[in-house]
Amino acid sequence: MTDKFKSYFSKISLYLFLVILLLLSLIPFYLMIINGTHKSFDIVTKLNLFPGHNLSENYETLQSHVNIWQGFLNSLCIAVPFTILSGYFGALTAYGFAKYHFPGEKILFSIVLASMMLPPQLSIIGFYQLNLKLKLLNSYFPFILPGIANATTVFFMRGMIEQGIPDSIMEAARLEGCSEFKIFNRIVLPCVMPGVATMCIFNFVSCWNNYLGPLIIMTESKKYTLPVMIAMIKGLYLSNYGAMYLAIAISIVPIIIVYAFCSKFIINGLTAGSEK
C-alpha cells in the first residue's frame, strides 16, 4: 500500500515538474497575446488574464506609427534568398567534399569545420567596413550572400551524401553522358532534399532572428528588418502598450504557428544533426 502510494506520489510530482516547466515556457507568450488585445489604459491599471476587445484599435495605432509589414517584408526579402542559397550551395559544397578527391581536401574541410566555431559578432567592425567599402550599406546582399558559405549545412549534408548516395549511381549517370554538374542537380540534390529542407528551416530561423547585423548595416528606416524595428519600437515609435505588445506578437506568432505544424520535423532534424 505504501509502496503504491509512493510510486503514485512520485509520478504526480514528476508531472507537476514537467507542467511547471511547460507553463514557464508558454506564459510569456500568453501574456503577450492577451495584452495585445487590451487598451493601453487597461494594461497599466489592472491585471488582464483574458482576451480583450481592443485588437483592431491597437492594430490601427500600430499601423499609424510604424509600417510593421514593411519590416516583415524586408525580413522575408533577406531570409528567403538566404535560405535557398544556403540549401543549394550547402549541398553542392558538401557534394564536392563527399564525392570528389583532390589535393588539399582535408585541409579545406577542416577550414569549414573551424569556421563553425568562429564567433561572428566579434568581426562586426570589419563587416561594417567591408560593406561601407563595397557600397552595400542598406542593401540586402550582405545578409543574403553569406548563405553560400554556411558551414553547418555543409557539415550536415556531407555526412548525408556520403552515406546516402552510392558511387555507382554517379558512374551510371556518367556512362549515360550526364555532365558532373547535371549529376548533382538531377540526381544528388533530389535524393538529399529531406536533409536540405531540415537545414533550410534552421537557416531561415537564424537569418530571420538576426538583429545585430541589420542593426549596423541598415541605416534607412525603410530598410529595417523586423527585429531592428521591434527593438526600436518602445519610445521611438510608440508609447501605447497594447500596440507594443501587438507589434511583438506580430513578430513572434508566425514562428509559433509554423512550429506548431512542423515541430516534429524540426526536432528530428536537431537530433539527427547532433548525432554526427
Binding site: L14, F17, L18, L21, L22, S25, L26, P28, L31, I43, V44, T45, N48, F89, G96, F97, K99, H101, F102, L108, M117, Q121, L122, S123, I124, I125, G126, Y128, Q129, L130, L145, I148, A149, R174, E180, F181, F184, V205, W208, N209, Y211, L212, L215, I216, L226, P227, I230, A231, I233, Y245, I248, I252, I255, Y259, S263, I266, I267, L270, S274, E275
Partner: protein, 300 residues
C-alpha cells in the same frame, strides 16, 4: 588510361563545386576578421582614412575598467544560466529516458519553442512585462498579495542581471535537453541491462554510466555555449534599450563593442575590444576543453 583521366576530371570538379563557398567565406567572414584585427592597431572614425596608432588601443584596453566590467557581466550572466540549463537538461533527459512519460514529445517540443523566437523581441517583451510600477508582473504580484509589490525591478542590479540569465536559460534549456537526449540514444541499451542486473539504482546508472558516455556531447554543448554566451547581445540590448543599466550591470562586451563603434565612432578601439573578447573566449574554451578531457582520462 581512360580511368585515370576520369579521376582527374572528378578532382577538378570537386574544386569547382566548393569554390563558391570559399569565395564567399573569404569575403564575408575572413576579411572582416582580418580587418577587425588590423583596425585594432588603428584609429578610425568611419569617415577619414584610418591612422596607425601602434599599441595605444591595447594600452587603453588593459586599463579600461568598463571593459573588464563587461567581461565580468557577460561571464556572470553566462554561468548563471549555463549551470541551471545543464542541470535541468540532465534531470529532464533522465526523466524522459528512464520513465514512460505520456506526451513526452509534446513537452519537449514546447520546451524548445523559446529557442526559435527572435531574441530581440524576447528582450523587449520581458522589458514590457517587468518594467515599471504598473507592469504586468507587478499586477500579478499585487493580485497574489506579495508583500512589497509593486517592485521597481529595473532599478535593481542583481534582479536585472538575474532576469537576463533567466531569459537565456528559458531560451536554451529545451535545446540542451534535446541534444543531451540525442547523445543518450546513441548509447547501446545493453549497457544498462548489465548495470540493472548488478543492482544499480536508476540514479547510479545515470550518474556512472550514462553521463560518462555522453561526455563528448556535454563538451560540445559547453564549448558552443561559451562561444555564444560570451557574445551575448540581443536580449540585454533590447531589454535595456542598449544602455545595459542599471549601473551597467548587464552591459555585455558585445554591447560595449557596438556602443564604442557605432555610437561613439571609435571603430579602432571597438576592434581592440573585439580582439580582447576573442582571446578571452579562446582561453575559456581551451580551459573548459582541457578540464573536461582531463576528467575523462581520470575516469578511465
Amino acid at each position: 588510361m581512360i580511368k585515370a583521366k576520369k579521376q582527374r576530371n572528378k578532382g577538378y570538379y570537386g574544386y569547382l563545386f566548393i569554390m563558391p563557398f570559399f569565395i564567399i567565406f573569404a569575403v564575408f567572414e575572413l576579411y572582416p576578421i582580418a580587418y577587425t584585427f588590423y583596425l585594432s592597431f588603428h584609429k578610425w572614425d568611419g569617415l577619414m582614412p584610418s591612422t596607425y596608432t601602434g599599441l595605444n588601443n591595447f594600452n587603453r584596453l588593459i586599463h579600461d575598467k568598463i571593459f573588464f566590467l563587461t567581461i565580468k557581466n557577460t561571464f556572470r550572466i553566462w554561468i548563471c544560466n549555463f549551470i541551471p540549463q545543464m542541470l535541468v537538461a540532465m534531470i529532464l533527459s533522465a526523466l524522459f529516458t528512464f520513465n514512460k512519460i505520456r506526451g513526452m514529445s509534446f513537452f519537449r517540443a514546447v520546451y524548445y519553442l523559446p529557442n526559435l523566437i527572435t531574441a530581440a523581441s524576447v528582450g523587449l517583451l520581458f522589458n514590457l512585462l517587468f518594467n515599471g510600477d504598473k507592469s504586468v508582473i507587478n499586477h500579478i504580484l499585487i493580485a497574489l498579495g506579495v508583500k512589497g509589490a509593486p517592485f521597481n525591478f529595473f532599478q535593481n542590479k542583481v534582479f536585472v542581471s538575474g532576469l537576463v540569465s533567466y531569459i537565456q536559460w528559458w531560451m536554451w534549456f529545451g535545446y540542451t535537453t534535446i541534444i543531451v537526449m540525442a547523445g543518450i540514444t546513441t548509447i547501446d541499451s545493453s549497457v544498462y541491462d548489465a548495470a540493472l542486473v548488478d543492482g544499480a539504482t536508476k540514479f547510479q546508472t545515470y550518474r556512472y554510466i550514462t553521463l560518462p558516455l555522453i561526455r563528448k556531447t556535454i563538451i560540445y554543448l559547453t564549448i558552443t555555449s561559451i562561444i555564444g554566451g560570451m557574445q551575448l547581445f540581443d536580449v540585454p540590448a533590447t531589454m535595456t534599450n542598449g544602455s545595459g543599466d542599471p549601473m551597467k550591470s548587464v552591459l555585455t562586451t558585445s554591447m560595449y563593442i557596438y556602443n564604442q563603434g557605432f555610437k561613439s565612432h571609435n571603430y579602432g578601439y571597438a576592434s581592440m575590444v573585439s580582439v580582447g573578447l576573442f582571446l578571452i573566449i579562446a582561453v575559456l574554451s581551451i580551459f573548459a576543453l582541457q578540464t573536461m578531457q582531463k576528467k575523462e582520462s581520470e575516469n578511465d
